[in-house]
Structure formats: C-alpha cells, structure tokens
C-alpha cells in the first residue's frame, strides 16, 4: 500500500478507536479519558500535516492517489470502498483534524465536570471519524454512508443535554430537516449510479463527460445531489435547523456547526463539480447567493451571540455554495478553509465569553474587554478576518469569491444578481460582526453582577483561541492554496490512450502498491472504459492553449493571483478556443481587480456604520428599529420560516387528515347510507324476496365500503399492523400492476 494511503487510514481509524475506548471504558480511565481523545486527535493532526507537506512539495493540484478495495460484489453490482487523496483532501484533512484537536483541548476545560464528560469526548471522536470518512472517500456510496454518520454525530451532540426540552427538540429538528435534503441526495446518487453503473467519482466524471447522462436528466440529477448540500450546509430553505443546533455545547457548535460538518455540503459540491450541468450550477449559485444575503440580514438583529454566529455561518456557507455555483471551485474551497479557522475562532471565543458570564444574550454583556483581554483580542482578529479586512485571511478568500461572481456576471450579464447579493452580504457581514464585538466587549457593562464574576479561562480555553487567531491572520497569505486545488477542467475522453500506461497515470501511484497488497484486498480493477485524463494534465503536456500566457499575465498580480482558476482548459487547441480562453481570462482579471476594490469599499462601509451605531452611538439603533418596525419584526422572526413550516407541514397535514376524515364521514357514508335507504325503499315495494335478497347485497356492499372507509380513516393509527396491512396489499398491487400493465 502506498504510504500516504496507509497514513490516511491511520488518520481515519484513530478517532474511531478513541470513540470505542471512550464509549466503553471512558468512565474508568483517569481524568475520565479526555486524554484519549485529545491524544488521538493530536496524532491525527501530525499525520495530516505530513500528508499536507507531501502535497505542498508536489505543487501539483492534479496529483492524486487512489486505492480501492472490493466491498460488495453481487452479480454485476460492484461497490468498492476506496480512498482518494488529492490536494483538496489534504487541505480538508488538516482543517478537520486541526479544528477537532483544538476543540478537544478547549472542551477539556469547557465541559469540565459535566456528568457525561467521557461520553462527550466519545461522540467527538465519532464525529471526527465520520467527517474524515467523508473527506477521504472516493465514491458517492461511502460519501453518503459517512454523510449520514456525521448526521448522527450531529444529532447526538446537539442533544447532548437532552434533558433540556429545547435541546431535544433542536436535535430532532436537525435530523428531520436533514432527512429532507438527504432524501434528494440519495435520489441524485441513484440517478448517477443507474446511468453510469459506478459510484466512483472518476468513473462518474468520465461517464458524464461521455454523455451517459445528459440534458435535463443531468440537471435534475445534479439538483438532487445539491439537495444534500442544501440540507447539510443549511441553505435556504432548509437552513432552519442550524440556529437551533446551537443548543449543543459551544465547542460542538464550533466544530460541527461552523467549521467542518456544515462545510461538508460545500466540499461535496466542489468535489462533484464536473457532475453539475450549467443549469444546475445556476440553481446552486442562486441558492447560495440568496442564502448568503438572507442569513446576513437575520444576523443583524440577533441578540443571542451564538444565534448571531449561526446565521453568520449560514451566510458564509451561502457564499461558498455560490462560489461553486459560479464556477469558482477554488475560491469556494479556499473560503471554506479560511472560514473554518476564523469561524471556529469566533465560536470558541463566544464559548469563552459564555463560560465567563453565563449568558448568551449580548444585551447582558458589554465592557468585557477589560475582563477577557485574550478573548477580546482573538475575537476581534476573527471579526476582522470574517469582515474581509486586508491582510486577514477572510479578505483573500472572500475577495476571490466576489471576483469569480463578478466575472460570472460580466460573462452573463443577465445573472448579475448573485454578485449583487454577495456584495450586500459582505457589507452586512462587516456590520453585524462589528456590532457583535461592540456589544460584547466595548462600552460599559450592562449587567454589573455578571461582569464582576467574569474571568479569563485556563490555557485550555485561551490556547486554541490563540492558535486559531494566528491562522485567521495569515491563512490567506502567499497564494498557497493554488498548490492544492485547481478547478477541474472538462474531462477529455482520449480513445488513443486506451492502454495500461494511461491507466497507470490515471490511478496515480496506486498501481505501485498493488502487488504487495494485503490478503483479501486487491487493487481496484482498471475500468475498461476509455481512460479519462484531466484536461489540465493534457494542457500541461501540450501547451497550445492560452494557459501559459494567462498564467504569466496573472503572475504580475498580487496575492490572489494564485486563486484565479487555472485557465479554462482547451482540449481542442483551435485558435477560436484559445482566443475565447484569453478573453475569459481577461474578464476574470479585470473582475478580480474591481471586485477587490468593491469588497474593500463595502466592508469599510459596514464597519463604519457599525462603529457609528454601536460604539459612537451617533446613529441610534433603537431609532432605526422604530423607523422600520415591519422590517425589524420580519428579521427578528427570521422571515417566519419556522412559522411557515409549522403551518404548512404541521397544520397542513392535520387539516388534510381532518378533511379526509370528513370526506369519509359525510360523503362516503352519506352515499352508502343514501344508497342503502333508497334501495331498501324500492325493495320494500318488490316484496319479501327482493327485500331479503337485494338488501343483503346492498348492506354487504355498504358494510364493505364502510370497512374500507374506516380503514382509510385509521390510516394514521400508530398501530403497526395497519401499516403492515398497507405494505402487504401495496406489494401485491405492485406485483399485479407489474405483470398486468408493464409486461402484458
């Protein structure tokens, strides 16, 4: 096995080991076992950094290592379990293990003395294992498996304090909302599987490129896949669960509901980018842009510090999703990375504040900068990063996204809306984040009692804050991200390269370890289909396209140049294509420069307004509320999403059932009774024979229909036998239908 692959396996399995040990023996270990989780994650982080360094040295975003094992083989159905590591994976590995490690450390202090302390660390390990599984998987099937496992971990951790009714309700809500998204996700996966016959990413890319799935079907399948992202990454309209998920412990919010799990949707969309048709990408872009804007407006009025950060997270996720939608895979993933650093920092900072003052309501805070100096400084650094102030990390990534959105809008002027919404969201982000800082740390303490008891936490609290703060400052420097991720170009089907040599190239280094594989494992068989070669490979081999030219043009540019996508790959090096590519690169170039100026402008405006309102008090926020009562109400109630779902899903189903019952009672029973009476009247005229005969018949029918009626009315009995009856009769009907209608 390739050493990188075995390292990755160790990274994947260590948190699982931590989970098993803590779950079964946690209470009996010294310190209730927290060192098991922290230690395991520490080792994971080191190993992830090794892989990261390996890819750093390679400096080649198309380099990938893949290895698979047969997991299930029934007749013609083959499902492989496999690991795929490329630059994107390497970055995600570091993000997940780093944030998880810091959260583990933070939690040793934050959760100290909790009754289910070791169980908490066990769940954290379980989550980390599942999240790493998502990152490492090389097929949609296992992506989905781990996708559901992180959902489970999220459920367990949101409801960690399940004795609070609000927490119990929140985790149920998160789970159900995600089910809606995951249902579509699974349907999308099945779409691709039935068309291509494989779950493996590379097979799917080749299959889609060769037109095994095209047109409207491809769009529908892509949008269905994206539904998974809508659920998991809390995009409108399935975003409602994320703010409630803040019922979980704050470190959990930082790890799962800010930095990693909710970003899994973005990762999935970016990873599967070649599977989305242009229309599907348009849907993605609009959903992301709308989410970014709407969530940011709600965050303006939040008074609960964690809820505010939750809406900020939704907004930033919308950003990333929109970036992928407009074609900026690189900028989206870059923002994911930097966002993981500063949002984890902000959440852990809020956790430190909550730990100190025992409230989440910002109106009860104020003036805390004197009591919590380290938290104040780090939180401010995180705020500067998220607001997009240079030279902090958020500036580079956000600027890259805005540049991509603007380039998209310049190429297709009718789709300017995503860019405008994103720009507005950027201004709002700067505004509400600084509002949060001012309300929490500046001014005079509004609750003297809480203020006096506040104090900075131990090193376990401040240490992670400092590490994350440093990352928030410098994670955007140097354009390093271009070493790891490039926009996947169109897959070129090269029929001439249908040879083992090409296959070896495609599988990266995996071919080398095959013979020494362990018993029972074997190398994933080279697929007999034409070898896919990434177009970026092709262009580097045959530099006839405009890629080198645009590359040098970009080289003079500053920091975010590396962020610009590799020039669109031109498989066929015709002059037209080259010209077009040069044109597109030009647009991108200008777009990035303009977007940077605009984003600086809006961020500055947002910060200025926020300062005037909440620090200088020269603009009265109460006055603004009073001036726009309707708007304030709308934002405060979060656009009435919860109420809407309550009415439509809850009340609607109830009304529907009531209507069915009423229909049964009045119409069907009325009909039956009417028919019965009428027939009885007639039969009376026809004498005894008729009366007995016809009456019996009619009453029998009536009784039968009444039985069915009451059956339908009882459809929701909660009694399993009724359901079983439905299942059996449904099955029989389906078989009859199949034989009678489909195969006459």
């Amino acid at each position: 096995m390739d050493p990188i692959i075995s390292t990755a396996l160790v990274i994947l399995l260590l948190p699982l080991l931590s989970f098993v040990v803590l779950f079964f023996f946690g209470e009996r270990l010294p310190r209730r076992g927290d060192w098991v989780g922290v230690g395991a994650l520490g080792v994971c982080l080191l190993l992830a950094l090794v892989i990261f360094g390996h890819f750093w040295g390679r400096h080649d975003p198309t380099y990938r290592i893949e290895q698979g094992w047969t997991w299930l083989s029934i007749d013609r159905l083959h499902i492989d379990a496999g690991i795929l590591i490329d630059g994107m994976t390497a970055v995600m590995l570091v993000v997940v293990t780093l944030v998880s490690f810091l959260v583990h450390v933070f939690s040793t202090s934050y959760m100290h003395g909790d009754r289910r302390y070791s169980r908490y660390f066990a769940f954290l390990g379980w989550f980390t294992f599942s999240m790493l599984g998502i990152v490492l998987s090389n097929s949609l099937f296992f992506l989905y498996v781990f996708w559901e496992l992180v959902g489970l971990a999220s459920y367990l951790l949101i409801g960690f304090w399940f004795h609070k009714p609000s927490a119990a309700a929140a985790n149920k809500k998160a789970f159900l909302t995600n089910r809606v998204g995951d249902f579509g996700f699974w349907l999308g996966i099945l779409f691709f599987f039935t068309a291509v016959g494989s779950f493996r990413y590379l097979d799917l890319f080749t299959g889609v490129a060769s037109g095994m799935l095209a047109g409207k079907t491809l769009t529908i399948a892509g949008v269905l896949l994206f539904m998974g992202c809508v659920g998991k990454s809390a995009q409108v309209p399935l975003h409602v669960w994320l703010p409630d998920a803040m019922e979980g412990p704050t470190p959990v919010s930082a790890l799962i509901h800010a930095a990693t799990m909710v970003a899994a949707g973005v990762y999935m969309t970016a990873r599967l980018f070649p599977l989305f048709s242009p229309t599907a990408l348009l849907v993605i872009a609009y959903v992301g842009a709308i989410t970014a804007f709407f969530a940011a407006t709600i965050a303006l009025v939040a008074t609960d510090i964690k809820k505010g950060l939750a809406y900020s997270t939704i907004s930033q996720l919308g950003y990333m999703v929109m970036a992928v939608g407009v074609g900026g895979v690189v900028s989206g993933m870059f923002h994911l990375t930097t966002h993981a650093a500063f949002k984890a920092l902000l959440f852990l900072g809020s956790g430190s504040v909550i730990h100190a003052v025992h409230t989440q309501e910002m109106p009860e805070m104020g003036g805390l900068r004197r009591k919590l100096p380290i938290t104040f400084i780090t939180f401010t650094l995180g705020t500067l990063a998220i607001a997009g102030v240079p030279p902090f990390a958020g500036f580079f990534s956000k600027d890259a996204i805005l540049g991509d959105a603007l380039a998209f809008a310049m190429e297709k002027p009718q789709h300017f809306l995503p860019f405008v919404l994103a720009l507005l969201a950027a201004a709002l982000t700067a505004f509400y984040m600084f509002r949060m800082v001012y309300l929490t740390f500046a001014g005079k303490p509004r609750d003297q009692h809480k203020y006096e008891h506040a104090h900075e936490g131990s090193w376990a609290i401040t240490g992670p804050l400092i590490v994350l703060a440093m990352l928030s400052v410098c994670a955007g420097w140097g354009g390093w991200f271009g070493r790891f991720v490039a926009k996947p170009g169109p897959v070129v089907i090269d029929h001439a390269a249908h040879s083992m040599g090409a296959m070896g190239g495609m599988h990266g280094m995996s071919g080398m370890g095959g013979t020494s594989g362990m018993g029972g494992m074997h190398e994933m068989p080279a697929s007999p289909s034409p070898a896919p070669a990434l177009a970026t490979d092709a262009t580097s081999g045959a530099p006839t396209s405009a890629a080198p030219a645009t590359g040098s043009e970009h080289a003079g540019h500053e920091g975010h140049t590396m962020m610009g996508e590799a020039a669109p790959a031109a498989g066929a090096a015709t002059a037209d294509a080259a010209e077009h590519a040069a044109h597109a690169a030009h647009i991108r170039h200008t777009a990035h420069r303009r977007a940077m100026l605009l984003s600086l402008l809006v961020a500055g405006t947002g910060i200025l307004l926020s300062t005037l309102t909440y620090l200088r008090r020269s603009i009265s926020s109460a006055g603004a509320q009073a001036a726009l009562p309707r708007v304030y109400q709308l934002l405060n109630r979060k656009y009435y999403f919860d109420e809407f779902y309550g009415v439509v899903v809850g009340r609607g189903l109830f009304l529907w059932n009531a209507a069915l019952a009423a229909f049964d009672k009045h119409v069907i029973d009325g009909l039956v009774n009417g028919a019965g009476y009428a027939t009885r009247g007639i039969s009376w005229l026809f004498g005894m024979y008729d009366r007995y005969f016809v009456d019996g018949l009619v009453n029998g029918t009536g009784e039968l229909i009444r039985q069915f009626g009451s059956l339908a009315r009882q459809a929701q009995t909660g009694r399993i036998q009724t359901y079983f009856l439905g299942v059996i009769s449904g099955l029989v009907l389906l078989i009859i239908l199949y034989k009678a209608v489909l195969m006459p």
Partner: protein
C-alpha cells in the same frame, strides 16, 4: 393421484404464508402475532428447500433454511423478551393498547 412435485410444496408454503399474514395483521395478542411470523418464516424456508430439491439440486437451499431457523430462534427469543417487558410495563399484551408513541 398426481405425483408429488414442486407445485405441491409451493402451494402448501403459500397457504402457510397467507395464514401467517392474516395472523400478523388481525390478531391483538403479541404472542399470536409472533406465531404468525413463525408461520411466514416456515413458509419461506419450506419453499427454499423445495426449490433446492427440484430446481437447483444443490444443498444451498437447505443451508438457507438452516439460517432461517437460526434467525427465527433469535427473533423468538428477543421478541418474546420484548413481549414480557411490555406486559410488565403495560399489563397487557394487546398491541392495540400499547400505542404510547401515538400520543
């Protein structure tokens, strides 16, 4: 009289299956419902063995039937334990009275 063949066994299996389905759907007593499940499992096992005798002529069908027996034994043990637990909590084994989830 016809010679006994595959169809005879399958007919008997179908009869057992239907009786089992009826039992599972219509009875109140959880223990009897379990009996119905046993009927269904037996019908399945019987048809496996019959197919293995008349169609595939291997021994695999019999192996599957052994596994069916194993599963039935495990199921009976756990399910009856659940029935006893339910009886202890609700003082009834009538499934239509155990509907706390509905409320």
């Amino acid at each position: 009289m016809l010679e006994i063949g595959l169809r005879h066994y399958l007919t008997l299996a179908a009869l057992l299956l239907s009786a089992g389905v009826f039992t599972v759907i219509s009875r109140r007593n959880a223990v009897v419902i379990l009996m119905g499940v046993e009927l269904i499992l037996n019908a399945a096992a019987l048809s496996f063995v019959a197919f293995s005798r008349y169609v595939t002529t291997g021994i695999v069908g019999q192996l599957v039937a052994v596994f069916v027996v194993v599963v039935a034994a495990a199921e009976a043990a756990v399910a009856l334990a659940i029935v006893l637990a339910i009886f202890r909590n609700f003082q009834t084994v009538h499934v239509n009275q155990v509907d706390r989830l509905r409320k």
